[in-house]
Symmetry: C2
Subunit: 431 residues, 2 copies
């Protein structure tokens, strides 16, 4: 077989990047996979739109059937986004024995398990490294590089928009709203930033990573999600003075009983933790393996060329599998039944910030609440508030269960001396 034919769905920023890579690196790619890769068709909405990449007019079509029913096409590259219609298109393509390379984390988070099984039944490959952390080969690293190990925990900065915003809020001491506006102007945030800022984008990626790491079917609904809208300059100032940096972290972990938790939430990390150094729009995934210990994979989380790199690397893998006659073997069915931790099985440190009456006995009332829940503290800081006769107390607990925290919060709210529990964030990365 001297040539492989590709149908490309989408010619936006990533699709354009894919075409450029295939053109500019054609010789090296051919040398590595042993044959030529040709574009046969490109599915777009607007055939007449001016494109800033050299393409042949006869490639363009707005009819999906010219790809999924096209006997010439071996592989579909899906970089157009969307969930339901795209799912139907890919199911049709797989049933027609076409292999899939996708960068679509939304699709894979919602329909991934079904598509992966369907591909396996049809001896097809479906690869999606580009859907999590853009240019970083994280999926390949988890499933192959660390294949011999048991993953215990993953901590990920997997959304470049929120990391950019938090970096600027921290380094430049600017509030959330103006930084968001600047990010939008620079193209680091969407005009509707909800999916990024409220943690949904990160949650989809963490569901995919957790599936691979723990070999069970974890869905989006299993991920507890908080975004960055609640993070204030005061939070950042307090965290800094206690030696921490605040990041939006996706955390997936498994305990010795095989129970898992997956969440996306603002998290305080020690200042010198490798993840704390990840700045601006960069992503990183920190992996704790039972045998390997701590590893980290760092790189661009998005962007036309980085994501296109991951798409084309996956494409080259599929081409090699086709030539060797071994497609349909990449996917391994989940090995374990999903078991989620209860709140009294989730252990972590917490950062709690309260505004309280500045009077005798306040501190004792508060510590009694925590004592009743067997909560002890690693750090405590009390400062006068800007409000008259009020004080701010900031506490970092030792490791406690989520249940202990929830109970403590309820009881604190009932105290007359507590005006407001301003912030409550996870603290991690110190063990």
């Amino acid at each position: 077989m001297n040539q492989v034919y590709v149908g490309l769905c989408g010619l936006g920023t990533v699709g354009t990047g894919v075409v450029k890579l295939l053109q500019n690196h054609a010789e090296e790619i051919k040398y590595k996979v042993g044959c030529e890769i040709h574009i046969e068709k490109i599915l777009v909405h607007d055939i007449d739109k001016k494109r800033d990449v050299a393409i042949q007019a006869e490639w363009l079509t707005d009819n999906p059937d010219e790809l999924v029913n096209n006997a010439e096409i071996d592989i579909i590259i899906e970089v157009m986004g969307g969930i339901e219609d795209t799912n139907l298109l890919l199911e049709k393509a797989i049933r027609n024995k076409k292999h899939i390379v996708t960068a679509n984390k939304d699709l894979m988070a919602v329909h991934g398990q079904k598509l992966l099984r369907l591909a396996k039944e049809n001896n097809c490959d479906i690869l999606y490294d580009a859907s999590v952390a853009g240019g970083i080969p994280i999926i390949r690293s988890l499933t192959e590089g660390l294949a011999s190990d048991r993953i215990q925990k993953i901590m990920g900065i997997v959304n470049g928009t929120t990391n950019y915003i938090l970096t600027k809020m921290t380094d430049d001491e600017v509030a959330f709203e103006p930084v968001l506006k600047e990010a939008q102007d620079l193209g680091f945030a969407e005009s509707d930033p909800t999916s990024d800022v409220d943690g949904l984008d990160a949650a989809r990626k963490m569901a995919l990573l957790a599936n691979l790491a723990f070999k069970m079917e974890i869905s989006l609904e299993d991920v507890e999600v908080s975004g960055i809208r609640t993070i204030s300059q005061e939070d950042i100032t307090f965290a800094t003075s206690l030696g921490y940096t605040i990041k939006l972290i996706g955390i997936a972990s498994i305990n010795d009983n095989g129970k898992v938790e997956v969440s996306v939430e603002p998290t305080l990390l020690p200042k010198d933790h490798p993840l704390a150094m990840v700045k601006n729009e960069f992503n990183a995934v920190y992996v704790y393996g039972e045998a390997v210990g701590e590893t980290m994979f760092y790189g661009p989380g998005a962007g036309s060329m980085p994501t296109a790199t991951a798409v084309v690397s996956d494409l080259m893998d599929v081409v090699k599998n086709i030539r060797l006659g071994i497609t349909g073997n990449e996917y391994i069915l989940p090995q374990f039944q999903k078991q989620l931790k209860e709140d009294d099985e989730k252990y972590m440190q917490y950062f709690i910030r309260m505004e309280v009456d500045d009077e005798a006995g306040t501190f004792q009332k508060i510590t009694n609440v925590f004592l009743d829940e067997s909560v002890s503290f690693q750090k405590i800081l009390q400062l006068p508030s800007e409000q008259k006769k009020m004080a701010e107390i900031v506490m970092v607990t030792h490791k406690i269960s989520k249940q202990q925290l929830l109970n403590s919060r309820e009881n604190l709210k009932g105290l007359d001396v507590v005006n407001e529990i301003i912030s409550c964030y996870r603290v991690d990365g110190e063990d």
Copy 2:
């Protein structure tokens, strides 16, 4: 095929780790590769030595022929070290159609190209991810994850011993000799630390990485090597005050004309560069790809279990290849003819520290030398020396060629006002 049989060469720290992984993770490994992996024979020097892992007595042998001529054995795992004898053993094994997994960077740096070709001719696989940066799947990331990209530059902290020493010298402000002694006591440095401290270990690993990144046959002789013995507390203090951290960095880069340079040398990095954050015995490889941009792979560089993880992950790959009937396809012959840069084609910034006469006209004489070579400066610092009537001048140049630096150094030595050129180190990571 329901079982694969392995011959293990060596039962030291890594060999023991491999046996433990194969035993403790047996179920998951079997699930992933679709068959059982059995140890058939283990080659050791001392059959009677007490072992701290559960092994069957009949596995042990001190006769290599019981592995390389053993028709039952499919794969040889080589974790015993050594170069010439080990090379002969593996050549024999490959000719007997056995696949190889090795952690032996010395062997691969010296004989790797020959072994890789021999394996390909015999339809065998030889995988060696464990030989560079222990538990970090860097080779797999370069050859597969970033397969679609062109690598422009690699900067690596690939020797844990020297990174541990430099971390302690920097953070604890202790001199080289006492830190080396402490590292030896803790097992982070060998009793004969030459290979680590003088950069040879790092040089072997960089030769391997450069081969893979640039797809040409670069040998150990092509790597310029300097170790860390010359780094003093004063160097570190000056570097810190100018905003840098000193690390032993392996650098491999290629220019637009396809010419390469590979070196291992003390290098000043900006304090907030991701590589500057890599502490103690951890390793990291920073990769610049034309399309992907900047990525970094971080993790343990050595240690029984991390290295064993990499060995067993490679083993699982070979087992899958055997089962699919596709062995002998991993290795791709070098695509390009090796071309090394000349000194006037190597561009970088330099940190130069001199002791000079503290008198009128000194500074002008020195700057004239640099002017003659068209060398300009990014930073200059002058302080009184501890020596009477002497001063220390520290300069960071803009990017100049190595030839310009060598010429300048020659001419400075000829100046009567220059007492000594104390240090001269590369500065990198600022672009």
